[in-house]
């Protein structure tokens, strides 16, 4: 098995954080994984994206032109990365910040109001974790302990923050599971 992902958004949306958490989840599930991040000129508000590759074999190519999954947290990244989705691949779009538009008919779309969902939990900053939950639900069933451990690896000792983000992750996860 070999899957690759692009997570994209603007600086401050936590793109790199959930990319790191996803990569940690794969690592804790004993996959080979690579994680590359790319920042725009400015941190907050600039374009940010990262690419994650996972495989059950040693990884050779760690950057790919076409990927299986793209997560786009805003309009700019939706416009920019839709062309990078592999045929039959999936794009997850934050419909709170991007218009619903199915410009390609050879890929799958998931439009979810991620920012609104995070807002209902009390903090729109957790949009990223809702997105990660949505993505994770498409990938199968990850051991919850590993998800928690992955959050701890990235967010270190911020226990309160970890708990809130895992709630947001589960909200995203169940959004897909419950249809």
């Amino acid at each position: 098995m070999n899957k690759n992902f692009i997570i994209s958004g603007s600086g401050g949306q936590g793109v790199i954080s959930i990319g790191g958490i996803l990569a940690n989840i794969f690592m804790l599930n004993d996959f080979f994984v690579s994680f590359c991040s790319c920042y725009g000129a400015e941190m907050r508000g600039g374009a940010v994206n990262c690419e994650i590759n996972m495989s059950d074999e040693e990884l050779f190519c760690i950057e790919n032109e076409q990927v299986d999954y793209v997560v786009a947290l805003n309009q700019t990244s939706f416009d920019k990365f839709i062309s990078r989705v592999r045929e039959n691949g999936t794009i997850i779009v934050n419909s709170s910040l991007a218009k619903i538009n199915k410009a390609r008919d050879d890929i799958k779309y998931i439009f979810a109001p991620l920012t609104e969902m995070a807002g209902k939990l009390g903090n729109i900053k957790m949009t990223n974790s809702v997105a990660l939950g949505v993505l994770a639900s498409l990938l199968g069933n990850f051991n919850t302990d590993n998800v928690k451990k992955a959050y701890e690896n990235v967010l270190k000792n911020k226990n309160e923050l970890i708990k809130k983000n895992i709630d947001a992750y589960l909200l995203g996860y169940n959004y897909i599971q419950e249809g």
Binding site: G20, A23, V33, S34, F35, C36, F60, C61, I62, E65
Partner: protein, 355 residues
């Protein structure tokens, strides 16, 4: 010890600490600043020497001074700033002072930009300082290997009393993958016979490169080259991937070589007998082995993220009239698998046409 997902720069810094790093000197420059940043917290907390110098020239000359203690010393920098260090590298070779220089390459020439590149192969291997000298250059392809090679760099530099460079692609410095930082597996060396630690109850020692006696200077340089020969015999290292029955051979180094493995794998699935030869030591270059392999190759394809720098060493190693082609580009995104396969298929087609 379990695996952790960390950036290449941090992994290198952690592995250096595990190897017994005692003193670090540096000056910030992208894409290697994380190394100094991480060590600026970790080293003072452990009572180790950390200096953010006033310039790269200051940093490397501080390293020269610290290296006279025989302790493990490291400097990290990048491309255009490593240019500033060339004079000190020449002095360090003559003075036989051991330290590790980590060079996380960015795009040049001149100031260039922070895009990844492999454009400093020549600078690393042939050097920019004056006089007859060599720098040992180690080239990692993955992060676990970078951790191993930085520890090996300390070992080689101390064992042979010579500055050793870890030449890292910007891509490796910035990417993350799981690594396990372990203790160094390389033995410690006894430096007591040459270090400057105070001349109490023993004759004074001197370390300098100035030598007015023609005879002695000649002797000194010849002895350095005896040492380089010894390094070549003992430390030359490389990796071969699917070369056993290969008729076509890719040569590549660093993280680009890692990408070319996917090319080998895919072309093999299409029945092309192709393999990869990757030097892990750029100096000493594994010429002997590449020469042996070249005897049964129809074609050798050198792939680099520069305009063809290792290409010269490949040409010098090949022992027959093998045709050698080059695929590369100077800076930016690494060549994609599809681009390389397209170019190689064309080369192979022409190669068969000419038989």
């Amino acid at each position: 010890m379990s695996k952790e997902l960390i950036k290449g720069n941090i992994a290198i810094a952690k592995a250096a600490l595990k190897a017994g790093l005692k003193a670090y000197f540096g000056y910030p420059i992208t894409p290697q600043t994380d190394i100094g940043e991480y060590l600026s917290y970790e080293m003072p907390a452990r009572n180790l020497a950390y200096v953010c110098a006033e310039s790269e020239i200051g940093a490397i000359n501080m390293a020269l001074g610290a290296a006279t203690s025989g302790e493990k010393v490291m400097v990290s920098s990048s491309s255009c700033a490593v240019s500033l260090m060339q004079e000190a590298l020449s002095y360090a070779c003559s003075d036989e002072l051991p330290f590790v220089l980590v060079n996380v390459m960015r795009a040049g020439p001149g100031q260039g930009y922070i895009y990844p590149s492999q454009g400093d192969y020549n600078q690393a291997v042939t050097g920019g300082g004056n006089g007859d000298y060599k720098i040992v250059v180690l080239s990692p392809s993955t992060l676990p290997e970078a951790c191993d090679l930085v520890q090996r760099a300390f070992y080689i530099s101390q064992k042979y009393r010579t500055p050793t460079m870890l030449l890292v692609d910007g891509l490796l410095g910035q990417m993350a993958e799981p690594v396990e930082i372990t203790e160094s597996k390389y033995p410690e060396t006894d430096n007591s016979r040459w270090v400057l630690d105070g001349a109490k109850q023993r004759p004074a020692r001197e370390i300098h490169s100035l030598e007015p006696s023609q005879y002695k200077l000649n002797q000194h340089i010849v002895s350095l080259f005896k040492k380089y020969k010894e390094i070549e015999e003992n430390e030359t290292d490389w990796e071969e991937y699917m070369t056993d029955d290969a008729e076509f051979l890719i040569t590549s180094f660093g993280s680009m070589a890692r990408y070319t493995k996917s090319v080998v794998k895919e072309l093999r699935q299409n029945g092309v007998k192709i393999g990869l030869f990757r030097p892990k030591t750029l100096f000493p270059f594994p010429s002997k082995r590449l020469g042996e392999l070249s005897l049964r190759m129809k074609h050798i394809i050198d792939i680099e993220m520069n305009m063809g720098q290792m290409l010269k060493d490949v040409r010098l190693s090949v022992l027959n009239n093998s045709v050698i082609s080059f695929i590369g580009k100077p800076v930016g995104d690494w060549l994609k698998k599809e681009e390389m396969i397209g170019a190689i298929n064309n080369i192979i087609k022409e190669s068969y046409a000419s038989i």
